[in-house]
Structure formats: structure tokens, C-alpha cells
């Protein structure tokens, strides 16, 4: 018998058949959230569907003050599908596709505008160079590289009667974003602590919502400000239920506008919009129910603590409105 054979723990069992039968290469996955590393594990496919709902009645002022809309209510929802696949033992690929149902009502103007749109999809690669730990003592560190593509609606409709007559919601910045980040998780028993740190850089692009004001016919170029973010993850799990609290801060640079420059760097002539930079803080709280290894249900709430903005673009991705966001997510794993 070879040394290799002597190590073999051969438990003969009938092979499995069928389209969705488990494959041998699939790696073990913990049933409880607190025990799971940051990447999914080789061979696992995770399909997540969920929704976020925010009914905003205000916004953040340029000095961080909380301001209310005069007479408007903005319903911002995000319906999302996320596919995550463990492509190797240490990395997974993520495809995130959002949709938006949006509604803006203004009692003073008597308008009630709504619509359903595709948002900006994100593609990410998460690589976990470090992971270790015996059972109950997980340590995990992952790097994430993500790209957001401007697939959402960027045509606001006719503005012949002025900006307030736009008939459509814009659901994209019109630009590509690149995010680089690092995530950590350290687990001891039923508790885990971790953190997130990273930055987002936007490439400039011509966007249909950046319309020159002389003829409303030709377009401008926009480059949203770069962002850095940091958050702390605190998790405790009891049985199949985990509580995750994530306080975080983010600072963003000024948005830049202008027309394209010739050559490989068409955004080099853009000028910053004064006062469009700022910072914000929020707390994300999630209750995760591990129904089984293959099914999680997550209920969450996000509370904005502080913002700083100009609110010159009606774009949640650049200048979010102020309001509490409630969310629910169902994750199926195979």
C-alpha cells in the first residue's frame, strides 16, 4: 500500500447523479455565519435576492446638517440579485445586478413620478490570501477588487421646460468605478470581529444626464469624486441566528465636470464642483438566520448618522438622500 493509500479515508458511498448533484471538489462550508470565512469556498454557488427600501424626506446639507425636503417624498428601493461563485479555494467571483423602483411625489407641484430601472451592476473578485484557525478560531483576510459598470438609466427625459420637468430617474453615475478593499474577520467561538477598509475611484465618462444648458442637446463629461471608506464588523451568533453590526465612515472627493479632452485621458480638463466633497457615517445592523447551510435569511436596517453634500444631482450613488433603509435578503447556496 502506498503512503498515499495509507492516508486514505475511504468511505465507499454510492455516487450521485443528476444535474445538481454535489461534486467531490466542493469544499466544506460552515453552517453558521460566524464560522464562515470571507470567501465562499471552491465550487459553491450562492444566489442572493433581496430588496432595500428607503423613504427619504430629506437630505444632508453642505455642512453636514440634516435638511428636509420642502414638500417631496422620495421612495428609493433597490431590488438586487447577487451571484457569488467560489472559483478556487481562496477566491470567489461576485456579480451584483440591482434594479430600482423609484417614486418621487411632490404635493406642492402635484407631481407623482415613478419608474422601474436597471441599476449599475458590479463585478468583484475576492481573494483570501490568509486564512487559518482550528474549529471555532477562524482568521480570514481577503482583498477585494470590484468594478461598477454604468448600465443603469442615464437619460432623464426631456428638459425643455427646465430641470424640474425631467420625466425619468437616473440610476447610474454614467461612469465606471473601481474599488479596492481589504476585509478581515477573526472568530472566537460565537463572536467575531472584523473590518473593512478601501477606496473607490471613478473613471470619467460622458453621461446623458450631464446636458449643456444652452441647447439642451449636447452632453458633458462627469467624474464623481473618489471615496475612501472604513467599517468595523461586530458579530455574535446564538444558534442559527447571528447579529452583525457595522458602523462605518466614508469620505468622498469633489465631483468634476466639463467636456472631453482628446487623447487617452479625456477627463483631464474637468473642473471640480465646489463644495461637492464631504464625509458621512452610518450604522448597518443585520440579523442573519442560518436556516441551513444552503439557505440564509437576513433582515437589516441602515441608519445614516451624518452626511455632507450639495445634493446637486438626484443620484443616490453620488449624493444619497437621507432616510433609514430597511432591507431583506434571501441567500440560496448550492
Amino acid at each position: 500500500m502506498t503512503p498515499l493509500l495509507s492516508l486514505a479515508l475511504f468511505i465507499s458511498q454510492p455516487a450521485e447523479a443528476g444535474v445538481l448533484a454535489d461534486k467531490t471538489m466542493k469544499e466544506p462550508l460552515a453552517a453558521r455565519e460566524v464560522e464562515r470565512p470571507l470567501v465562499l469556498g471552491k465550487g459553491w454557488l450562492e444566489v442572493g435576492v433581496g430588496a432595500d427600501v428607503k423613504r427619504a424626506q430629506g437630505y444632508w446639507g453642505p455642512d453636514g446638517e440634516a435638511l428636509d425636503f420642502d414638500s417631496a417624498t422620495f421612495l428609493y428601493t433597490r431590488e438586487r440579485v447577487q451571484l457569488r461563485y467560489g472559483i478556487t479555494s481562496r477566491s470567489d467571483l461576485v456579480l451584483f445586478v440591482p434594479f430600482h423602483y423609484l417614486q418621487l411625489t411632490n404635493d406642492t407641484l402635484g407631481t407623482d413620478t415613478s419608474g422601474f430601472y436597471l441599476g449599475d451592476p458590479r463585478m468583484a473578485w475576492r481573494w483570501q490570501p490568509l486564512t487559518s484557525g482550528a474549529a471555532g478560531e477562524l482568521k480570514s483576510l481577503a482583498l477585494i477588487a470590484e468594478v461598477k459598470a454604468p448600465a443603469g438609466n442615464e437619460a432623464p427625459g426631456s428638459s425643455i421646460a427646465g430641470p424640474s420637468t425631467f420625466q425619468e430617474f437616473v440610476t447610474t453615475t454614467g461612469t465606471y468605478d473601481a474599488r479596492l478593499g481589504v476585509e478581515t474577520k477573526v472568530q472566537r467561538g460565537n463572536l467575531a470581529v472584523g473590518g473593512q477598509l478601501g477606496g473607490v475611484v471613478s473613471a470619467s465618462n460622458i453621461a446623458q444626464f450631464v446636458v449643456e444648458t444652452d441647447t439642451n442637446q449636447f452632453l458633458g463629461r462627469i467624474k464623481p469624486g473618489s471615496r475612501v471608506y472604513a467599517a468595523v464588523d461586530l458579530m455574535a451568533q446564538l444558534g442559527p441566528v447571528a447579529l452583525l453590526v457595522q458602523p462605518g465612515v466614508e469620505a468622498h472627493g469633489a465631483t468634476r465636470l466639463g467636456v472631453s479632452a482628446p487623447g487617452l485621458f479625456p477627463g483631464k480638463d474637468l473642473a471640480p464642483v465646489e463644495g461637492s466633497e464631504g464625509w458621512s457615517a452610518d450604522v448597518d445592523t443585520n440579523l442573519i438566520v442560518n436556516v441551513s447551510r444552503g439557505l440564509d435569511l437576513t433582515l437589516g436596517v441602515n441608519v445614516p448618522l451624518r452626511g455632507e453634500d450639495l445634493m446637486f444631482f438626484p443620484l443616490e450613488d453620488i449624493h444619497p438622500t437621507r432616510g433609514i433603509t430597511s432591507s431583506a435578503t434571501l441567500e440560496l447556496r448550492y
Binding site: 447523479a17 443528476g18 473613471a203
Partner: protein
């Protein structure tokens, strides 16, 4: 047998992920694959077969059974039940030991598909798809390279070793197999297009993959280092032909006769060496180490497992081999080598006598020496002399080559090379090459100028077939078939001289045999290895059925067929031959892992063994002298032996270092045989005075216990247990787990817009490929959703396709306030962006009439629309629909068509389409102006013809000025000719016109058969019109062959160059210019009052106004009657990780200044200045100049 290329690559080849929207108002073409490419093995669907499934604990085994029985008149009846049951048994037996090799016990059931539709070796394995396909027929010469062993265990264990080893090895999840990453940057200002494509996957090398499958079969007890394998590596080592460390990483350039097999056996050999040095688990540990994490260079696992770097280890192994085989060589020399000489008419460079000749030979490049050695034949088999000694013949690379040559003409018997030019010319003229099956034997018919050969059903072309290539193969079968051929003489006239030949005189370049002289022998389907009886009346041959060969006799006219054996258990007979008295038959029999010689009674079939041992004894020939000559390996080397039936004594006749097989006694009593060398199977001759004549009876077991023989022959495995677990094949229960290939695409659609798309492609099929479905989603700034389904369960292939895409597109406008291009101060540039969407549906029926010809009908409908910044929804621009019929005739497979220098052949595509378009764009009031005509709803006919011909350069009727053509032939120079013609029978909107211009292969697929070089000197899509006539040509030649260098994961092997040129044009319709015949609309376009005033341009008579520049000051056209370009291209053939990764650089110069619609000069600024012709075309032009293309891994 082999493993697949990465599934991701296979899948992606089915679709072309082209960017559909190429410019602001121009539409590309949605493309789909031909279903003929879709099936992995056969182009035919074989709806005449039912499929059944045997389910075991760890496997499904699927096998075919004809719906119509033999009794019902089906002469192509198939029932592979026994083969399937045998496979099921072996599969379960091998499961545990093979999985234990890696401690990787596979949970998922693996599907084994038994193919029995052809008489060729077929098959492959795709481990991540849990899919093995094998043929029940191992082909006719496989065993010569591997040794005789039970086929089903040999092939199944090998393939299952792939499944386990590659699953255990893979660092990627099986659902993906890797990631496809690609991009294209097209810069119209700088006139360059650069693209690249990578399929990031596992990179295990060829030698480990295939050598490992052999080795683990050995380690689990199903395989062994046979004399055939030793023959291969022994000659390879002694003749200096080992694949180098760099060479053996990939199989992509190992398609010649020997290197592919060397890759298998070298890998097996080094595994045995590592077992000896480090332990028998070493090869498996490489996989376990690699699976820990993906590495760019797989070989980096070797030092981690063995502690020795991989190159040092390779060199150690070479030394080990060299020492081993030098000792063997010394032993043979000490015994006295008896090899004879190669049966050639003139000496080769290696047959040097003087030191000067030796120096001249050794000064040649290694590769040149190898080419010369191989020029005398690599698969030269089955030598024969006719009984009267007049004819000599052999099977060379699948042709039975017969010449009127006595044996005295050959050096081995005369001691001198043929020097009489008249005799040499006479021998050359009185010769013929008959198509045949390479491994199937043939024979002269005694007393007649006739031969019988192993061929296939469609072996000889009729005149119609020869001229059209339209061999009817409608049922998809082309089984082996015996043919009876008269050696007639045909009169030839050449240069005023008349001479006779055995070959028909070619007419119009085609050779057609008289149908009366080449006759299929009735009732011999699936027959091979014929031998004619001494009286010339009967044949003995072998008949295949369900994994088994049996011995049959029949009269030459196909009557009185008699089966002498009736095994149905995998017994495999080989090369029967008659005794001189015609009463007995000698044949080699492989059964129960034993390869022995048997004498059969020609009347009763009673079997009497003459050897009964563990040696491989085969290729028996019962000569006129009464002795039986055969090949066997009692000393580990195949040599020729002679058995005397009277004395039962055996003597050894040859003592070679290679391998002596297929002996034949000449009428003069000399020996001809096939000698294996590192340069191929060669025919050698040994004068009878040179024979070794060493007693060898003691080496064989001739003292045979007949009771044991009877018991062995009576043994039959019991497979009855499988009856209860056999069910009709159900698609639903046999669907493959979907493969999801992640896709990352980068491209720019303008200078300032860089698009990135991410998504995936899901591929799914059932295991006998009745149904195939592909779904692809790419999202980014542009989104593309595609679904394609193939139904391959009927004679015709049915395809349904749906596709929807959204593309965001930015552009510039140069507005000229006074519409006068001469004044530039008033021109302002603005930027814009819109969103375009298309929805496409298509359905098609494709019918493969034979392996070359396919016809089909496709219907499609598409809607195309815009959404600008002010729009709240997409405004439909046009709706179009059409039905087209097409024919594709192709003599080069797509696989070879993608090579840097494809083999000779042609591709012809012919199509007719009836199309309808309705312009719906509201901004244009539902109509558009093109060429001065207002177009709303219209129908049109479209005719397209493309023709590509590849020709190898060679002397023309012996004429080779300064020897250049001969030199070009030697170095495989090639000429490629392409014609592209199209005709639309009315004026149509711009989107329906033809477009031309340089193309980068990244978006449009590999282009050797549909060259991207046409008009490469002009920007992509810059030329257009309703009539298209384009000719292009290329002269291609190797620059640096056999580079064979490995750099990390990249392996580079060949560099070719080609000079290219294009001439032609696209002609359109002309708007009226006579005052009073037109009005000018709000977009400055001239619109004819009477559509009849819009005139069609006539090719060769008119210049193309649309593609001709206009003087901005005078408004006069600078006419382009024809457009020209020339260029040069370098093609680098290489492999990245384990797959093809071919790259190119192309420079192309367009001689003509052109103009056209929209952004002709590629600066992404659309000028709206009046052109002077009174239409809305831009006056911007593309000046004559150089365009540069780079492709990294994109093909050409």
C-alpha cells in the same frame, strides 16, 4: 484518446461575442455557430439509433442500438450492448483503485458514452463534465503503438485516470474551468487595433496528463510497459528524438506521426522513473500540490514534491533512459544486428559512405535531417510482392502504393541502388496509389493482376464525386468495406509522349478510376484485413461487430460468406493468411489478455494454437515455402520469427534495435518487413542469406495443453446482471451539470469610451448531445443577453436563437455653421451619447449532406432602436426580417483552417436571402433617406458568395525556375486566394448594405477561412455599398519553425509570415444631381422626386461615389473605381497553459483615399458639413496610410 481542451474554450467557440452595434447608425451582424461544429465527434446525428443506459454504482454507460434490425433490411445495424456491459464492469472494477491513487473518491457519477457508428478510434474525456466518450472499435493500428491489450480496460482506465487526476489537480471549481478575459482597443486616429484574449485555467502539461493516465493505469494493475511502448522510447532515445523539456508541455504542435505518441510514452516513462526514485505516489502528489492554489507555471510543483528542480529531473531521467537503452543496443550489437536495409530505390543522405558525405549530412539542421528521414514514409505498412514477382506494393499513409518493380530493383536484395533511369521511370509510371484504410491489410490476388484492399464505403470517387467533392454520405456511415481492384493499364500522353500507367490519366486535374475496375465486394461491410486464397477465388478477412473481430471467408464476388468464428466477447483477430494449400488459415488472436497464433480449419473454423504464452505474437504470414512468418517480442523487442508447421520449430530471423513487424516472404525467398524507427514505420528488406536463423523454439510455449485452450475459448463473462439496470436513454435523467464560464470583456467603442463587461456563459447538454443550450449574459455599460438552443436528435440540426443587447455609444459632432468646409473657424465640436438596443430572434435548420457539404435555411427577425438623452423609452428605428438559404462546402476542417498555414483545400459559402425592412424612426417620420431615395418599407433579395482556396506552392509540371518552386514546396509555402461577392437587388437603407474594411479577429472569430485581411488597409466598416466584389490573395511562408521554447506558461513553436493584398470595391446607388429632379431635406440630403432617378452604380464602369473622396473646395469627386491595399502579417503559433494561444501582427497599407458615412476617419467626430454632392455624408476622409493590428492570443 485525449482529454478535451478546456471546456471554456470549447464553449466559447460556439458563439461569437461580437459587439453588435459598431457605429452610430450602423448595424453589425449577429452570428451563430454552425451546428456541424456543435457535436463533439460526429457531424451526423444518427436519428436511426436508439440509446440505452446501464446504471451502476458510480457510472452511467450509454450505448446505441439501431431502430431497424438486420432482418428488416438494415445493412448498418448497430448494437453495442456487449461493449457497454463490458465497459460497465471494468468501470466499477477500476473505480476504487483509481480514486485511491489520489485519495479522491468521486461522488458524482461519470457518464460513459459508447460510440459504434464508425470503424475508427474516436473519443475524449472532459473531466469536469463527468463525460467520457469512447469508440467500441479501437481502430486498426492503435495496438502497434501501445501493445496488444484488452481495449475496454485499456481505454476506460486511461480515460477515468484523466477524470480522477484532473479533478484532483484542478485549482478551479469544476463549474467554470477558468475565466475568459479579453479585450480590444481600436484607435482610428492612430490607425491601430490591438486585442488580446486569455483563457485563465489550469495549466497541467501534456506529459503529465497523458503520461499520468498511462502510469496510473499501470499503478492500478490495468496497464504495463509493453514492448510497443519500449520500442517507441528506445528508438526515440537512441535516435535522438526525445521531446525536449520545453517541447513536451503541450500537444498543440504534436500532430505529426510520432511526437504525439512520444508525449504519451515519455510521460509514462518519466512516471516510472519517478516511481523508482521517489516512490509510486509521486506523480499523484503533483496534482495534490497544484490543487492547493493556481499557479502560472504548473511545473513549479515538481521541486516542491521531489526536492529537485524540474529541468534537472528531466535531465536525470534522460540519462537514466540513455544508459538503459545503450545497454540494450550494445546487447543487440553483441548478438549481431540483423536489420537489412530500407526498401528504397535511391540512397538517403543518412546512407553516407564517405566522411565527406557524413559531414554533409551532419551539418544539416536536425529538423531538416528528420524531414528527410521521414520523407520515405512514416506509416509504411504491409509490404507485399505479387506471387509472380512482378509487382511490389505497400500501404503508405493510407494508400496502397503498387509499382511494377521486381525485388531485384531494391538495394536490400541487389546490393546497389537502382541506377537505370529507364527502369526507374518505368517503375514510376507503372504505379498507382489506391486509397485504403491505413491499418487494414491488403493482398494481391494470386494469378491475376488484381488486388483486394481494406477501404471504406465511399472509397473511390465517381466522376461526379471527383469533380464536385459531393460524396453522398446521407446516412452518416462510412464503414470499412473490402474492395476488389483490377490493376489495369491506362494510356497517358505527356509532352508528346505516350506511356502506360497503372494510374488513370487525370482529366481536368481529377483522377477517376474506371468503375468497372474498382468494385466493392458485397457483404463485406465492417470488413478488413483481406487475404486472397492461393487459388485466387476466396478471401479470408475479419469482420467487426460490437467490440469484437471474427474471421470470415467469402468468394471474391461476395457470395458464399462463411463465418469461421462467432465470438461476441471482445475477441480480436488480426491479419489472417491462407496456408499454401488453401485448407488452413493462420491468424493472430487476442483474447483474455493473451496474444497467440492460431491455425483455423478453412472449412470448419476449428482452432489450433501454435503458441500459447504471454508474448505478443501477431502479423502472421503463411508463405509459399510452407513456413509461418510472424512477429513476436520474447526478448522485449519485436523480431521476425519463422515457424515450421511440420517440425514445430521456430527460428529467429531478425535482430533489430527498433521493432520488426509484418513480415512477408518474397517470391525469391527474401524477407520484407516493417521496421519501427524514430522516423516512422519503414519497410526493410533482408536477403535470405543475411537471416539470423537463431533457434528460438525455447522462447515460446509450443507444448500446448489443448484442454486449457478449450477451456479458455469456452470462457464467457456473465453480464446478465446488467439487464435489470438497463433502461432506454432519457434526456431528462442525463443532463450535464451546467458549466458557467465567467467572461470579462474590455473594449472601446470610441476614443474616449472604454467599456468593460462582465458576465458568464452557461453551457448545458445531454450526454449523447441530442440537446444543447447556451445562455450568455454580459453586463456593463453595454449589456448582451443571448440564448441559443440546438436540437440534434433528427437528421437535420435545428437551431433557435434569441438575443437582446443594449449599447451605450458616445460620439462627437463637428457642426459647420456655414456648411463650408473651407472655413474652419465656424466649426464647433460637441459630444453626445445615445443608447441603442436590438432584439433578435432566429431559427434555422441545417442539414449536413456529407462531411464537407452542409445546406440550411435560416429565418430571422430583428428590431433596432435608439434612446437619446431626452427620450423616455427606446424609439424603434427599424424592424427587419428575412429568410435565407445557404450552402457551405468545405474541404478543410475548422480546426485546420485556424492553423497558421492551413493545408490545401477550399471553402465555399453560397447564400440567397429574401429580406424585409421597415424604417420606423419617428424623428425621420418613419422613413430614411439613403442614396437620394426615401425608404420606408421595402423588400429585397440578397445573393452572397465567398470562396477561399488554399494552395501549396510546388513546381508546375516539373518547372521550378532556379529551383525556387521546389524550395518553396519543401518549406510548405502556400498561396491563399479569396473572393467575396455580394449583390443586393435594390437600393436599401445603410444598415442593409454591405460593409467592408479591416477587421480584428477578436470580435469576429478566427479568420483563416474567412480572412480578416481583406481590405485591412481601410478602417473597419468604412466601405459600403449594395454590390460587393473583393479579391484578395496571400502568399504565406514559414519564417522560423520548430522554435519550441517554453517561457513560463507560454510555449512558442512556429512563426509564419504572409504578404497580403486586396483589390475590389463596393458600389452603391447615386442620388440625382440634375436640378429639378430632387429636393433637399432638413438633413441636407438630396431626395429624388422620382426614385427611378436614383441610379445603380455598375461595377467596373462606375466609380464608387460613396467610397470616393470629394474635394472640399470644388465638390468634385476623386473617383475610386477600385480600392487596393497591400500588407504583411506575422503569425506566431503558441500555446498558453495547455491551449492554443496564437498571436499576430499585421501591417496593411490602403492606397486610396476614401470617404463614407459617419465617422470614416476614425476620430469619433462625425462632421455634418455638406459634402458638395448635396447629401449628408461627411466630407471627412481616410487618407491613404498604414493600419496596424496586433492580436495576442486572438488567432489571426
Amino acid at each position: 484518446m485525449k482529454t478535451s481542451t478546456p471546456p471554456i474554450r470549447q464553449v466559447l467557440r460556439r458563439l461569437t461575442t461580437s459587439a453588435l452595434v459598431a457605429a452610430a447608425a450602423s448595424l453589425g451582424v449577429a452570428s451563430w455557430s454552425s451546428p456541424a461544429e456543435a457535436k463533439f465527434v460526429f457531424p451526423y446525428n444518427h436519428p436511426d439509433l436508439d440509446w440505452y443506459t446501464i446504471e451502476t454504482e458510480h457510472f452511467f454507460v450509454h450505448y446505441p442500438v439501431s431502430k431497424k434490425t438486420e432482418e428488416e433490411g438494415n445493412d448498418h445495424y448497430i448494437n453495442a450492448e456487449w461493449s457497454a456491459r463490458k465497459s460497465a464492469k471494468i468501470a466499477e472494477e477500476m473505480y476504487e483503485p483509481m480514486c485511491a491513487e489520489f485519495n479522491y473518491f468521486i461522488k458524482e457519477k461519470v457518464h460513459i458514452v459508447i460510440l459504434d457508428q464508425s470503424d475508427e478510434l474516436e473519443g475524449f474525456t472532459i473531466p469536469s463534465w463527468d463525460w467520457i466518450e469512447i469508440s467500441a472499435h479501437p481502430g486498426s493500428y492503435f495496438y502497434r503503438m501501445r501493445g496488444r491489450m484488452e481495449w475496454f480496460s485499456d481505454v476506460l482506465v486511461h480515460e477515468y485516470a484523466h477524470v480522477v487526476s484532473l479533478k484532483a489537480n484542478s485549482s478551479f471549481a469544476e463549474g467554470t474551468g477558468g475565466i475568459s478575459i479579453g479585450g480590444l482597443y481600436d484607435d482610428g486616429i492612430r490607425d491601430q487595433a490591438s486585442g488580446g484574449e486569455f483563457n485563465l485555467g489550469d495549466g497541467e502539461p501534456f506529459w503529465w496528463t497523458e503520461g499520468g493516465a498511462e502510469y496510473w493505469s499501470d499503478n492500478t494493475g490495468y496497464n504495463w510497459w509493453s514492448s510497443s511502448r519500449d520500442m517507441n522510447i528506445r528508438t526515440t532515445v537512441l535516435e535522438g528524438r526525445l521531446l525536449t523539456y520545453d517541447e513536451w508541455v503541450t500537444r498543440v504542435d504534436k500532430s505529426d506521426w510520432g511526437d504525439g505518441e512520444r508525449g504519451y510514452q515519455q510521460g509514462y516513462s518519466i512516471a516510472l522513473y519517478l516511481r523508482e526514485r521517489f516512490g509510486d505516489e509521486t506523480f499523484a502528489r503533483f496534482a495534490l500540490e497544484y490543487s492547493e492554489g493556481w499557479r502560472a507555471n504548473w511545473e513549479s510543483v515538481i521541486p516542491e514534491v521531489t526536492g529537485v528542480d524540474s529541468r534537472t529531473l528531466y535531465n536525470d531521467w534522460v540519462k537514466w533512459l540513455t544508459d538503459k537503452y545503450t545497454a540494450v543496443y550494445d546487447r543487440v550489437q553483441a548478438e549481431g544486428e540483423v536489420e537489412g536495409f530500407e526498401m528504397t530505390l535511391k540512397p538517403g543522405g543518412w546512407d553516407y559512405v564517405t566522411p565527406e558525405d557524413e559531414d554533409e549530412w551532419l551539418e544539416k539542421r536536425t529538423r531538416d535531417r528528420e524531414d528527410e528521414r521521414e520523407a520515405t514514409g512514416t506509416w509504411a505498412l504491409e509490404p507485399r510482392f505479387s506471387a509472380d514477382g512482378r509487382y511490389y506494393g505497400y500501404n503508405g499513409n493510407g494508400f496502397v502504393r503498387i509499382s511494377l518493380l521486381p525485388e531485384s530493383a531494391f538495394y536490400p536484395f541487389s546490393g546497389e541502388y537502382l541506377s537505370d533511369p529507364e527502369l526507374l521511370q518505368r517503375a514510376t509510371e507503372m504505379s498507382v496509389a489506391l486509397p485504403s484504410n491505413l491499418g487494414g491489410a491488403w493482398d494481391f490476388v494470386p494469378g491475376k493482376d488484381e488486388v483486394v484492399i481494406t477501404g471504406t464505403e465511399h472509397l473511390f470517387d465517381s466522376a461526379f464525386e471527383a469533380y464536385t467533392g459531393l460524396t453522398p454520405e446521407l446516412d452518416g456511415y462510412d464503414w470499412n468495406q473490402l474492395w476488389h481492384v483490377d490493376l489495369r493499364t491506362y494510356e497517358h500522353k505527356e509532352k508528346g509522349r505516350t506511356y502506360e500507367s497503372l494510374t488513370p490519366a487525370p482529366k481536368a486535374g481529377r483522377m477517376v478510376f474506371d468503375p468497372a475496375a474498382v468494385r466493392p465486394i458485397p457483404n463485406t461491410l465492417r470488413g478488413s484485413d483481406p487475404a486472397a486464397s492461393p487459388d485466387g477465388e476466396r478471401l479470408v478477412y475479419l469482420e467487426y461487430g460490437d467490440g469484437t473481430m471474427n474471421v470470415v471467408t467469402i468468394k471474391l464476388d461476395g457470395s458464399e460468406k462463411k463465418r469461421l468464428t462467432s465470438f461476441h466477447d471482445g475477441t480480436w483477430f488480426q491479419r489472417p493468411d491462407w496456408s499454401p494449400d488453401g485448407k488452413s488459415i493462420i491468424v493472430s488472436m487476442f483474447r483474455n489478455y493473451q496474444n497467440v497464433l492460431m491455425i483455423l480449419d478453412a472449412q470448419t473454423g476449428e482452432m489450433t494454437p501454435i503458441t500459447w504464452d504471454s508474448h505478443e505474437s501477431f502479423d502472421a504470414h503463411w508463405a509459399a515455402d510452407g513456413r509461418i512468418y510472424f512477429s513476436s517480442d520474447p526478448g522485449g523487442i519485436f523480431n521476425v520469427f519463422a515457424y515450421d508447421p511440420k517440425t514445430k520449430e521456430i527460428v529467429q530471423l531478425t535482430n533489430v534495435i527498433g521493432g520488426a513487424q509484418q513480415p512477408w516472404l518474397t517470391p525469391e525467398g527474401n524477407l520484407v518487413y516493417v521496421n519501427f524507427t524514430a522516423h516512422g514505420f519503414k519497410i526493410y528488406g533482408v536477403d535470405r542469406d543475411q537471416w539470423m536463423n537463431k533457434p528460438a523454439t525455447h522462447l515460446f510455449n509450443t507444448d500446448i495443453d489443448m484442454a486449457e485452450v478449450k477451456q479458455s475459448l469456452a470462457f464467457a463473462e456473465d453480464f446478465s446482471q446488467y439487464e435489470a439496470v438497463t433502461t432506454p436513454y432519457g434526456v431528462k435523467d442525463n443532463l450535464m451539470a451546467p458549466t458557467v464560464a465567467p467572461l470579462i470583456r474590455f473594449s472601446n467603442n470610441t476614443q474616449t469610451n472604454f467599456g468593460l463587461q462582465g458576465g458568464f456563459q452557461i453551457y448545458m447538454q445531454d450526454f449523447v448531445e441530442k440537446h444543447v443550450a447556451v445562455f450568455q449574459a454580459l453586463v456593463g455599460e453595454d449589456t448582451d443577453l443571448l440564448f441559443q438552443y440546438f436540437n440534434q436528435s433528427t437528421a437535420a440540426n435545428i437551431m433557435v436563437l434569441g438575443r437582446r443587447g443594449v449599447s451605450k455609444f458616445d460620439f462627437g459632432y463637428a457642426l459647420d455653421a456655414d456648411n463650408d468646409p473651407a472655413t474652419t473657424d465656424d466649426i464647433e465640436t460637441y459630444q453626445g451619447k445615445n443608447v441603442q438596443q436590438y432584439t433578435l430572434g432566429a431559427a434555422g435548420v441545417f442539414v449536413p449532406l456529407n462531411s464537407r457539404l452542409q445546406v440550411g435555411v435560416i429565418g430571422q427577425a430583428m428590431q433596432f432602436g435608439f434612446k437619446d438623452t431626452t427620450a423616455t423609452r427606446y424609439d424603434p428605428f427599424s424592424v427587419s426580417a428575412g429568410v435565407s438559404g445557404f450552402m457551405t462546402y468545405q474541404t478543410i476542417s475548422d480546426y485546420y483552417g485556424m492553423s497558421a498555414n492551413p493545408p490545401p483545400g477550399k471553402v465555399i459559402n453560397l447564400s440567397y436571402a429574401r429580406n424585409f425592412t421597415d424604417i420606423q424612426y419617428k424623428a425621420f417620420y418613419g422613413a430614411d433617406v439613403d442614396d437620394g431615395q426615401l425608404l420606408d418599407e421595402y423588400s429585397f433579395n440578397q445573393f452572397d458568395l465567398s470562396y477561399t482556396q488554399h494552395i501549396r506552392v510546388k513546381p508546375i509540371a516539373g518547372w521550378s525556375p532556379f529551383g525556387l518552386l521546389a524550395l518553396a514546396q519543401k518549406h510548405r509555402h502556400a498561396f491563399q486566394f479569396n473572393f467575396l461577392g455580394g449583390f443586393v437587388d435594390r437600393n436599401v437603407q445603410s444598415n442593409d448594405e454591405y460593409f467592408a474594411g479591416g477587421r480584428h479577429p477578436y470580435w469576429w472569430g478566427n479568420g483563416a477561412l474567412n480572412p480578416n485581411t481583406m481590405f485591412a488597409g481601410y478602417p473597419a466598416g468604412s466601405l459600403q455599398g449594395e454590390t460587393m466584389l473583393i479579391l484578395s490573395a496571400a502568399y504565406r511562408f514559414p519564417v522560423w519553425t520548430k522554435i519550441n521554447k517554453k517561457m513560463g506558461p507560454l510555449y512558442v513553436y512556429d512563426l509564419h509570415a504572409q504578404l497580403i493584398g486586396t483589390a475590389g470595391n463596393l458600389w452603391s446607388y447615386r442620388p440625382p444631381t440634375e436640378p429639378g429632379t430632387y429636393y433637399v431635406n432638413r438633413y441636407d440630403a438630396n431626395v429624388a422626386y422620382n426614385p427611378d432617378d436614383v441610379r445603380r452604380e455598375i461595377p467596373f464602369v462606375d466609380y464608387s461615389y460613396k467610397n470616393s473622396p470629394v474635394d472640399p473646395l470644388t465638390g468634385q469627386a476623386n473617383p475610386n473605381y477600385f480600392l487596393y491595399d497591400v500588407g504583411a502579417e506575422l503569425r506566431l503559433s503558441s500555446a498558453l497553459w495547455r491551449g492554443n494561444w496564437n498571436s499576430f501582427m499585421r501591417l496593411s497599407y490602403g492606397f486610396n483615399e476614401i470617404r463614407g458615412i459617419n465617422d470614416v476617419n476614425g476620430d469619433n467626430i462625425i462632421s455634418t458639413s455638406d459634402s458638395g454632392l448635396g447629401d449628408s455624408f461627411s466630407p471627412e476622409t481616410e487618407l491613404p496610410g498604414l493600419r496596424v493590428y496586433f492580436g495576442f492570443g486572438t488567432g489571426w
